[in-house]
Subunit: 183 residues, 2 copies
DNA sequence: CCGATATGTTTGGTATATAAAACGAAGGTT
DNA sequence: AACCTTCGTTTTATATACCAAACATATCGG
């Protein structure tokens, strides 16, 4: 129970399941319908794979189908879809608006972690984004300073890429420690 | 190939493998040695499971053992360990110092995503943390404003970009309500 | 030397998540 | 009617990642 690292496996929704469900929502929005083979095509997997995964999602009560085998989401499925899409949106915005990452990088990393963030984290991230993007002078000054701050670091001259991370982590640690002493 | 969502499966290191490797580092730091059963005990899995996972990590050249079957990491294994631990550190710091999440929540979410962040994202996150934690007046004012900001948000004075975030936040709140009903 | 304990591996089983290939059903074309 | 395509499912196989249990080995105490 207090095996923190095992929470990964006990996540309410798997990466694969999350994307099958979001695929259905997107197909419904785009085409008005979603069949097994539409999901398979969108996710670029075989119809067989999609069929099996969707079967288990039906059994879990997240996905349903009408009399002509057209897929739809249950209320719980809609909730999961909204939850995943909301998180993906927040994370992408954070990566692009705050960290100023290229949209491709933001997309890939957001896609990997969208289904893993807890509700508490997502809410705080949303709140932070609002504050960061605010128009008041403090936020504006902070954002301008942050833009200037880019590239003003000397870590670029360090040896290996991973070494940088270690160094950066230590630096962040020192900054925090100094802050605590004086705060 | 440009299936972004499939990058999750093609991540350089799995969650399980990352934790086996980090476990070895931590055991070496703590006890000076690491055996299969020490890793199993630390991760709270059976010796059989640890044995199999470590076997594949040996075959991948990340883990090695001496003549008495005591485990150690190869240079590549050390690199992976540093990379994962650096990311975990950065994410925890972001969750706790910036989002002000309870350390337990920060720990759980950081553990889920530590092995998934790209180098580019980790570097930018580190840079942002440094800027956020800086002692200059702009950063100080921003942090103070952020502390006050908690709980309060003005929905009327938002532009369109922030408005989207707002909608997602509302969505998150709805999801929360449904989560509570089910829990 | 013998038995108990600790350690590591192997085997068989579960669950997820994929592919490939075969199969059945439905619908359209000639 | 005969043929082709699309669609969904099923089967067989792969890989990861776990458990439980059996098995092998090694070490230590009496």
């Amino acid at each position: 129970m207090d095996d923190i690292w095992k929470q990964f496996e006990q996540n309410p929704i798997s990466h694969s399941a999350a994307h099958h469900i979001v695929a259905i929502v997107e197909l419904l929005e785009r085409n008005g319908y979603a069949r097994v083979s539409d999901v398979a095509k969108l996710l670029n997997i075989t119809r067989g794979s999609a069929s099996l995964t969707l079967k288990s999602l039906k059994q879990r009560g997240l996905v349903a189908e009408d009399e002509n085998r057209f897929l739809k989401l249950s209320d719980e499925g809609e909730t999961v879809a909204s939850s995943v899409r909301g998180r993906a949106f927040l994370i992408r915005r954070f990566f692009m608006d705050v960290l100023d990452l290229p949209s491709e990088d933001a997309e890939v990393d957001a896609c990997k972690i969208e289904h893993l963030l807890s509700l508490a984290t997502a809410e705080r991230l949303a709140q932070f984004l609002r504050y960061f993007c605010a128009k008041d002078s403090i936020a504006v000054a902070f954002r301008e300073g942050w833009e200037q701050y880019e590239g003003s670091c000397d870590w670029a001259s360090t040896d290996s890429a991973v070494c940088q991370i270690e160094r950066i982590a230590k630096l962040a640690c020192e900054v925090k420690a100094q802050d605590s002493e004086q705060g």
